[in-house]
Symmetry: C2
Subunit: 243 residues, 2 copies
């Protein structure tokens, strides 16, 4: 892991860009901490540059609670090499959604399963590198989409003790068996009228999770309209489980 | 309205029992307030004496945020005269739920519609009397079950500006048209595996509400297992809309 830039934000949060192999990422740490900080991994749909304002906002919110936050670029997004198969599947999914047609499970599988296979080991390698830093400790939470990536991480990565999942993208039906085996506390955010997602699929996924503590919070406002209080409720979820 | 008893609780909250005609009730007001306090009406399934510990807990929570709280006995519950028809319908509903049979809409209609017809005007009369007290102002919120009573009140009572509804009891399908006309902000609490309720009915009702701001929060734990953090989230909903 190599840090490539460093800046102190106006609220004192230290923001450092890094690269790990060919994967770029960003680490935010609180202005001051009494000891190694708990860490929240910030999932997102890909495209670090475009997502930066929202990611930095979430990271500052985490830092205000004493948590560090980190994210990495998604496979096939930003400056990373594209996958022709994924681009093709993404275009087909967009076409179906725009036309108001049902989204075939086969398209979801072709888009999401390879992404999960590639992204999850990258998150785990990132976690190895981050937790080797003296300023970071545990426990670790995962926050956000891509929800299928969050489901796999919640299942296979024992260092992640709680996940705040954004049900704003399709999950392959093949992954429901994995969801049933997830046992960590979950806070699932759903935009009720998300124009690019399937509400029933999200409700079925929430039902499938094996966790004894799981909360679904659904709000109005479309895919990007998550209300501010929902972000605050999610922050309190992490405060309960990481502090 | 006649106050029949008065006591100061250990946290300074003033608890006064009252009767309004033949309807008994309880009013809680904060230890101190800078002016007339906003008011939260506490709905419940009936039986003030048995419900007292939970109602008083909710009222103290409200008082800590500067809100007064009040409740009245439900028609046909506690010391109030029973309705033979309602008792019969309640027994049939319990039998169906216990046997794992589907609950017929006709049973729900016979149990809930007369209750709504009787309870809502009583809440409104109570509101008239309470808001005449100098220590109470507005705005007013409704909190809890019986959710069908909350739906009707949210629609017909303009002094109620926000409702935190507990989706823990059946709502007649005939009332879905009323739900579509509700426009005030709503915070709907659902116990995902509520052993005495129909999850799909609750989800359909949430979908039907006409409110632009509506939040569904679903948790695990059965009908009486609402987690503490869910109560705190609901309290923050009222703080946003009544403060």
């Amino acid at each position: 892991m190599h840090f490539t830039s460093e800046q102190r934000l106006d609220d004192g949060v230290l923001e450092r860009e890094f690269s790990l192999g060919d994967v770029p990422g960003i680490l935010w740490t609180p202005a001051s901490a009494p000891g190694p900080a708990p860490l929240i991994l910030l999932g997102h749909p890909g495209g670090l540059r475009a997502m930066y304002p929202r990611l930095a906002g979430r990271a500052r919110h985490a830092a205000a609670n004493g948590f560090a936050a980190a994210t990495i670029e998604s496979p096939g997004s930003g400056d990373r090499p594209r996958s022709a198969d994924a681009e093709q599947a993404r275009a087909e999914l967009r076409r179906a959604v725009t036309a108001g047609e049902p989204v075939e499970g086969e398209i979801v599988d072709r888009l999401v399963l390879p992404l999960v296979e590639k992204a999850v080991p990258e998150w785990q390698t990132t976690l190895d590198a981050l937790l080797a830093l003296p300023e970071l400790g545990g426990p670790v939470g995962y926050s956000g989409g891509v929800i299928a990536v969050g489901v796999r991480l919640a299942l296979v990565e024992p260092r992640i003790v709680a996940a705040g999942l954004f049900a704003g993208s399709y999950v392959p039906r093949a992954m429901f068996d994995e969801a049933r085996q997830v046992t960590i506390p979950l806070h699932v955010l759903l935009q009720w009228d998300d124009e690019g997602n399937d509400r029933q699929l999200a409700l079925d996924l929430f039902d499938a999770f094996g966790s004894r503590e799981k909360t679904l919070q659904a709000n109005m406002g479309g895919h990007t309209g998550v209300p501010q209080f929902a972000g605050e409720d999610a922050a309190r979820f992490f405060a309960r489980h990481l502090a």
